[in-house]
Symmetry: C2
Subunit: 138 residues, 2 copies
DNA sequence: AGCACATCCTTCGAGTCTCGAAGCATCGCT
DNA sequence: AGCGATGCTTCGAGACTCGAAGGATGTGCT
């Protein structure tokens, strides 16, 4: 059955990538969860709310509060009250946050096991994975 | 660039799968790390040592000791001294461990986002991922 | 306006995970 | 026998995850 092989291989690739990015994370006192949170704040988009981030990271509210505190403590993110809904807090990267995020992304593109694929294979793979994420939306 | 899209999509798929398997894990008082450890003990192969498991899971020795303790506490795994090297401990699934592992694998095959692909797409994807894991071995 | 209810976030406590440093037992080698 | 290497465990500190509970703000209803 190919499905089992695909699930196992995908997991293996994730673990390998996480292992290889580890040293860079340690350098910035980050961990996989905090790095993922940082990654998920795109500076070219409007600042996301805590709620939106929790949905993106598939985590609950207390957990997200904790992760954001870690990023704030490390000077990478700032919290602000959303003027249009004062219950909501929006997250903005500091200049250092933007730098670290950029370093994270560019390093990941170098060390990810997917980097061994050539452009044609990558394009095939991107098409398949896009189909998966679109079709299983939720 | 397709590479970034591939990395992001792969991560998204993993998170989604983990989210969907969560309820089953909770039922057995498992978590993603302990479930992954359980998954990595194939009952049809010779019992792995702690060392081998640590390599498979990309984790260090103290961490693996902790995870295995969790599985032992939950009655899923037993530890035994390897007669051929008395420093080494080998891990064997209990009958309950085999049941839970089987349930885990079969449920994952149902809920994984990859399940939306048809056989031809799956076979294509399996070929690409196998190439990635083989080419980036380490 | 006032009240009920929902939503967004935070705090707290308990359990889990991760890792470096240190230590113990055993193995392989000389 | 002695010595360094290897496999595992213990310990302590920091990080992560979640349910329960609570405070603040928005929404809808009368």
């Amino acid at each position: 059955m190919d499905l089992l092989a695909v699930v196992a291989a995908a997991h293996e690739i994730s673990m390998r990538a996480e292992d290889r990015i580890g040293p860079l994370l340690a350098l910035h006192r980050l961990t996989p969860p905090t790095a993922h949170a940082l990654w998920s704040i795109d500076p070219s988009e409007p600042p996301p709310s805590m709620k939106l981030m929790a949905d993106r990271l598939y985590c609950n509210a207390p957990n997200l509060t904790f992760l954001v505190n870690q990023l704030v403590d490390r000077g990478l993110v700032t919290r602000a009250t959303d003027p249009s809904d004062r219950r909501s807090r929006v997250l903005t990267l500091t200049s250092r946050g933007r730098e670290v995020r950029e370093e994270l992304v560019s390093t990941m593109l170098q060390v990810t096991p997917f980097a061994v694929l050539d452009p044609s294979e990558l394009s095939q793979l991107a098409a398949l994975l896009t189909r998966v994420t679109d079709a299983s939306a939720g």
